[in-house]
Amino acid sequence: MILSVLYFIYVVSLGSSRMIGDEIGGDPGGMLLPLVLSIFMFIASTILFITDRADDAYRSGGVQKSQRGLFILTIVVSVLYVALMRHVGFIVTTNILLVTLTFAYMREGVKREDLALWGGGVVGSLALLIAIYTIGRRVTRYLLLASRQGVIPKFLGSNGMTFGITLVLVGILFALVYIAGKKLLSRHDAAAPIHSLFQAGFIAMVSTELLYLIFRQLFLVELVRGIISW
């Protein structure tokens, strides 16, 4: 109801604009429909305000108390992701978002004792991801340059081929990281939080790199580089 009033004020403040070339008149102007809409929205929301209380049973309910921490964390991390992506870059922000949320969801809450572990996980997965990303970039650049110079067949420098070759290579590297990680963690209890962190970090790395390869290398979308400028 408040929104519809605000919308009404906004529409009136905008003023009406007439069709270009409407010297003889007839155009209802650009304000009429938004104005009618705001009045209708006010009437509908007033009716709902009066009648909808009876329908409260239908509502699916708000956030459960136990989930509030995760809910707020998701909003905060999402806002930071949107705000920082331009400056920090796609690779870093996406990886941090995925590690943070996956780990927190797996631990079913935001726990103070997990903070140090989470910090280590973010740094570790980021370092590994940047290393693998750098190798992937170098391979891609080599393929592009070498195919242009005629060192390797030209088709190997096409979008699809560089994407495919880099994908296979980083796939092998991720598999090695996974095997090594599993071996290192085998002495820890299966229920220990470090296992959740490893899983979260690994999934975050693979997802970030895969999204990068698909959107940057295959579809040529300009993903923000930020601090990873190479």
Partner: protein, 507 residues
Amino acid sequence: MENAFLAGLAQIANLSTLLWMSIGSVVGILLGALPGLTATMGVALMMPISFQLPTATGIGLLLAVYCGAVSGASIPAILLGIPGNPNAIATVEDGLLMTKKGKAGQALGGAVVASFIGGIGSLIALVLFSPLIARLTLAFGPAEKTTLALVGLVIIASVSGKNIWKGLLMGAFGMGLAFLGTDPFSAQVRVPFASVLSRTPLASGLDLTSTLIGLFGISQVFYELRKRFEPPQPVQPIEVKDIFPPFKKIASMWKIILSSLGIGTVIGAIPGTGASIAVFMAHNSAKNITESSNGKLDLVGTGSLEGVFAPEVANNAVTGGALIPALALGIPGDAATAVLIGALMIKGVTPGFHLFATNMSLVYAIFLTMLVANIFMALFQLLGVRLYPKILSVPEQLLLPQILVLSFIGAYAIAGQATTVGIYNLGIALVMGLIGYALKRDDYPIAPIVLGLILGGMFEENFRRAVKLAGGNYLVFFTKPICLLFIGLSILSVVLPILSRRKKAKQ
């Protein structure tokens, strides 16, 4: 016509299209199988990828996701008794009973065959009727188009959700969002805080894809976060040898198949109704048919293949049915086809007679991709019948962050090389996600917002053109028979649900 068909065939008969459609089909089945994730969300999430592809390939990808998701919803419905999305609600009863009897394989296989029959049957209706309906729009001027947009909006607003006022309010909200941006006739910037925002990408209005991704993708993540994560339920192993139902059995169900096909196609073609209504109607009709079959058919409700076949034929028949008004009139049959129309419009393709008259090859390409989407849906679901149930064991905790990031990257990627626009799109998607969450929480339907967004522009442009052509006479809409018909339909679609609700309340 032959040339147009061959040109349409050429647009899709290539490795790239088939590969992307295969991916779309598998992604759709997986999304459909995951409880809580809808076909609309799947289509919205794949939209950014479709823009990077040629038009026919991109639409093929989206149709493959759509058909796959509608069909994939039967997997958890049969194995766990939890429908992947509302399309499979009516499959639960007999599907789960069949699983308990040890016939899960046959139920899953039967659902695939039924979905395929439904999809192909409705495709035939789409091919036959959409050009005819599109031809009718030749008689439409700006006044008729205004009232057509109105009727599409009002019908979907009045039938979606439990409270008609909520639906209408959401339709109006969607139109309000569509009016943001630049006035199409005077180029005046219509955004709040215009002195600041007119210098940003928001001056040209809200990006449709980012808005849809926010409303369907991001909002779902927040919605699922409301309650405690539940551990995935165990799924029993499936006997592979029993998957295909005997042909004799399928043939004996011809009455059920035909009635479900008819129900699904017709309901799908009515804007706003959707599969969740069609499946119950088909289920009821099958119940009546089996009861009067004198024992020739197994009774629906007793764990019979008939009870799985009826809703599964109907829900996939909705896919073709919903595309009839979408392609012919630009009025989507359901939320998923609304997103498909959005994808077409962003590609510069406007549904309606103009599309049939000037770009028939693309229309044929869409028909053909629908055929391929159904074939792939059946093929991949049968091939992976033992694998897809495993997706049900993936915990929600791992899926939700992935959906969130996919939504963000999708909203960003629409901008392509324009990073500033991409960042604004991220913001739009996040804000819309939070709005979508708040609306879902309070039981407001989302589909009317999408309709408002898509039809708002069409409504405003034609309204102003019609009044201008009539010399400023607002009564022009009451002087034309087609307009009167549409206005009558709009009034009826508001009044009838109110009256029926009052009648129910009195009873």
